[in-house]
């Protein structure tokens, strides 16, 4: 007997597809470091159902009409916030949107107080983006009823991005186990990289990080229970050999002023993904980027818009995956 609460309206709305939430064990979605492969598969299966809804002329179901979703963003982000708000609205939820400028935080309204206020007002799911690692853990620790989705906390995690990246790969490759994924760019400061490392390792992929030494996190050399084991190769040509997937991260030029990046020309020469470099990977290797893309900086326009790029699919899949997570959090038993 499935533990999810189903009304007949839901069944029809989902075209009779039963979404099995029995294996879903999360009250919050903060990080992929404690997910099981079954939970990831549940997200993928649920996202498939949501994709179908998004293909209809009327892209709306009333499933989450009893739910209020608030996006609480301490960092500006058009793309992720719109993606979450769209997802919530497609499922019929009420949405609230708070964009907190840095000055509000400086005024002393603490994150803890803001989250508590949202909960008192009746919000069921808080989608939080913050510039400091651990912010969503803090938010989750102070809620008694509301659930928290981490939309990015500093350098630490961006679980929904990784899930949509993996979903995109899964739709193309059919499986994630055994595929070679190369992640290029500023790994040290990238929450997208960290979450993908956790998620892809969980599903059995083989990961290679490609970056200058100053942009790699410390301590990767030793094998540890505290972090998935990954290979490191700072030569892009060598890294791309046999790659099934190339994931390119956005370059932030402020890192250059902190002494962490070689100059722009040097970075582009060694790490930019262009057609010649891409040709070193497997034929039909997929190219991903979390966006926004700096064309001709970390990736050439030709590759970004080329036949192997799935960048625009990532965005579309993002809405489906976020719909899936909102559904699982509000309907799951935890």
């Amino acid at each position: 007997m499935t533990a999810s609460r189903f009304e007949p309206a839901d069944m029809r709305a989902m075209e009779g597809q039963l979404i099995d939430t029995r294996l879903w064990q999360h009250r919050h979605v903060l990080d992929l470091d404690d997910f099981s492969p079954e939970e990831v598969s549940t997200v993928f299966d649920t996202a498939n159902v949501m994709q179908e809804i998004l293909r209809r002329p009327v892209k709306k179901v009333p499933t989450l009409r009893d739910c209020t979703v608030a996006t609480l963003f301490y960092e500006p982000s058009t793309r992720t916030r719109l993606s979450f708000e769209t997802a919530a609205k497609r499922l019929g939820a009420d949405t609230l949107s708070l964009v907190v400028t840095a000055s509000s935080v400086a005024k002393g309204e603490s994150l803890v107080d803001t989250v508590a206020t949202l909960e008192s007002v009746g919000v069921d799911i808080v989608v939080l983006r913050h510039s400091l690692a651990g912010a969503s853990h803090l938010a989750a620790s102070v809620t008694s009823r509301a659930k928290v989705i981490n939309a990015g906390d500093g350098w630490h995690a961006h679980p929904t991005q990784a899930l949509l990246d993996m979903y995109t790969l899964w739709r193309h490759c059919g499986k994630l186990a055994g595929i070679k994924v190369v992640i290029i760019g500023d790994i040290k400061h990238s929450r997208v990289a960290r979450s993908n490392i956790w998620g892809l390792s969980l599903m059995g992929a083989y990961i290679v990080l490609c970056a200058p030494p100053t942009l790699l996190p410390e301590g990767l050399g030793i094998s540890s229970l505290n972090f998935p084991s990954v290979a490191v190769e700072s030569n892009l040509a060598l890294a791309l050999n046999d790659a099934d997937v190339v994931m390119v991260l956005r370059v932030q030029w402020e890192r250059h002023s902190q002494g962490l990046l070689p100059g722009p020309q040097e970075y582009i020469r060694h790490y930019r993904l262009d057609e010649d470099k891409l040709a070193l990977a497997r034929p039909n290797a997929l190219v991903l980027h979390p966006g926004p893309v700096n064309e001709d900086v970390e990736i050439t326009a030709k590759v970004a818009r080329g036949p192997q790029s799935v960048i625009s699919e990532q965005v579309t899949n993002g809405v489906a995956v976020r719909m899936a997570l909102l559904y699982l959090l509000s309907r799951g038993v935890v």
Binding site: L111, L132, A133, G134, L138, G154, H156, P217, N226, F227
Partner: protein, 440 residues
């Protein structure tokens, strides 16, 4: 004046005089009167404690703690902090000068001494700043501060980054005859660091404080100490590399001493997982490799003392985003418990532990306050009595300290202070001990 106290049949551990056996001790007129295998009852009225099964040692000395008064009374006061110290078995503590106003001139030192004489139940020895307002720009008037009663100089919390200034400060301090106590951290390398740089900082996405940030600063301090002949005391060293540097410096005769905290001897960076701000401290918790090296450093005398770096904070300062949370652990009341866990695992002998809590720190304080850290006849009657086998659970709510910020909440420990005596008066005792009056 209170009655003499006879402590009978306890396991007396006094490393300063080499005592490590069962015996009895009489405290009279605020001093240790005698100490012997057999107990002899005094002629007059006295109090008696049967210390069978208990360890009796000199009152512990904490070279490094933050009492926060004046200026930060929400975090701690001398009243609450000294009661916490007594509960932890400490009869002497040295308080750091990062108060408001800081102890950078005689007037604030006089103020603190007034508060101490009014509110403290144990001995509190103030440490003066190295620079005015701890800004690292102008050296304080060290001679006037020494006359006011400080036992050393430190800008603790703020390393002295300007090499030339530290060079000059050491030369002055050498004249005055007091140590420079330095928190060694290269601020440029360690800039923004929240926890140890390593696999945990990689996982949590937090800026790391590399070990080399401490080691670069220690190397600089050791070289300057060697050049000036000044007495240098290194606060809270935390890495294997630091131990190595101090070892080599001592081999070539540099006048340096070093301390380590109980948390750096027992907790690793993994305690931060889950963004546990209670484990956020400077220097940060490091790795097993560092712990092994620090324990070895205690063993071979490279590290002279164990000091708590007791750093109380309010709940608000810790319940926030990790990067915003204050650094510091409230440690006076868990120190002995943590150290006893090492003793029970045979990573540290009881004798060595007591040595680094008594004789070791007394030697760092030096001649300004002689007779501390020992139970030799004639020494001040500062005694700590512990039950090495009693099991207990850490509960921050029961701390005397206002600082409830400990990562050890709920930890099971074996070994606890049952009574603390300062200058012949009981300043702490728990329900299990009874000082029985014997009238004559």
């Amino acid at each position: 004046m209170s009655w003499p106290i006879l402590i009978k049949n306890g396991h007396i551990v006094d490393p300063a005089t080499g005592w490590d056996s069962v015996g009895s001790i009489l405290l009279e007129d605020g001093k240790v009167a005698w100490r012997d295998k057999a107990a002899q009852a005094p002629a007059s009225n006295y109090e008696e404690l049967d210390a069978t099964g208990l360890v009796v040692c000199p009152g512990f000395i904490d070279l490094h703690c933050h009492l926060r008064e004046p200026g930060y009374e929400d975090q701690e006061t001398i009243y609450t902090g000294t009661r916490a110290a007594a509960r932890g078995g400490f009869t002497t503590v040295c308080c750091m000068p990062n108060t408001d106003p800081p102890l950078d001139s005689p007037a604030p030192v006089a103020l603190v001494k007034d508060i101490i004489s009014r509110d403290s139940i144990i001995r509190v020895l103030p440490i003066g700043c190295i620079t005015r307002s701890r800004q690292g720009k102008t050296i304080v008037e060290m001679d006037r501060l020494a006359a006011a009663g400080v036992i050393g100089f430190s800008d603790d919390g703020a390393p002295v980054s300007d090499n030339y200034l530290m060079y000059q400060a050491m030369r002055y301090a050498e004249e005055v005859g007091l140590p420079i106590i330095e928190h060694s951290e290269d601020l440029a390398i360690g800039s923004g660091g929240q926890i140890n740089e390593g696999i945990i900082s990689a996982r949590l996405g937090l800026a790391g404080l590399p070990q080399v940030a401490e080691e670069v600063a220690i190397a600089r301090n050791l070289l300057l100490a060697r050049a000036t002949g000044a007495r240098l005391h290194l606060a809270h060293i935390s890495t294997a590399g630091s131990v190595e540097l101090v070892r080599r410096a001592k081999e070539i005769g540099v006048n340096v001493s070093a301390e380590v905290t109980p948390h750096h001897l027992t907790l690793t960076e993994e305690w931060v997982l889950g963004y546990n701000t209670m484990a956020k401290v400077k220097p940060p918790l490091r790795t097993w490799n560092d712990i092994e090296a620090l324990l070895q450093g205690l063993e071979d005398g490279v590290i002279d003392a164990i000091a708590t770096d007791h750093a109380p904070h309010t709940a608000t300062e810790k319940q926030c985003e990790f990067a915003q949370a204050a650094f510091g652990i409230s440690g006076l009341e868990t120190a002995l418990g943590s150290l006893m866990s090492l003793v029970h695992k045979q990573k540290l002998s009881l004798l060595l532990m007591v040595d680094k809590l008594t004789r070791g720190p007394a030697a760092v304080i030096g001649d300004k306050y002689p007779g501390l850290g020992t139970l030799a006849p004639g020494a001040p009657a500062d005694v700590t009595i512990l039950d090495p086998e009693r099991e207990w659970v850490v509960s921050a709510a029961s701390f005397c300290s206002k600082g409830k910020n400990t990562p050890l909440e709920g930890e099971h420990f074996k070994g606890v202070v049952v009574a603390t005596i300062y200058q012949g008066e009981e300043v702490y005792q728990d329900d299990s001990v009874q000082f029985k009056g014997r009238a004559k």
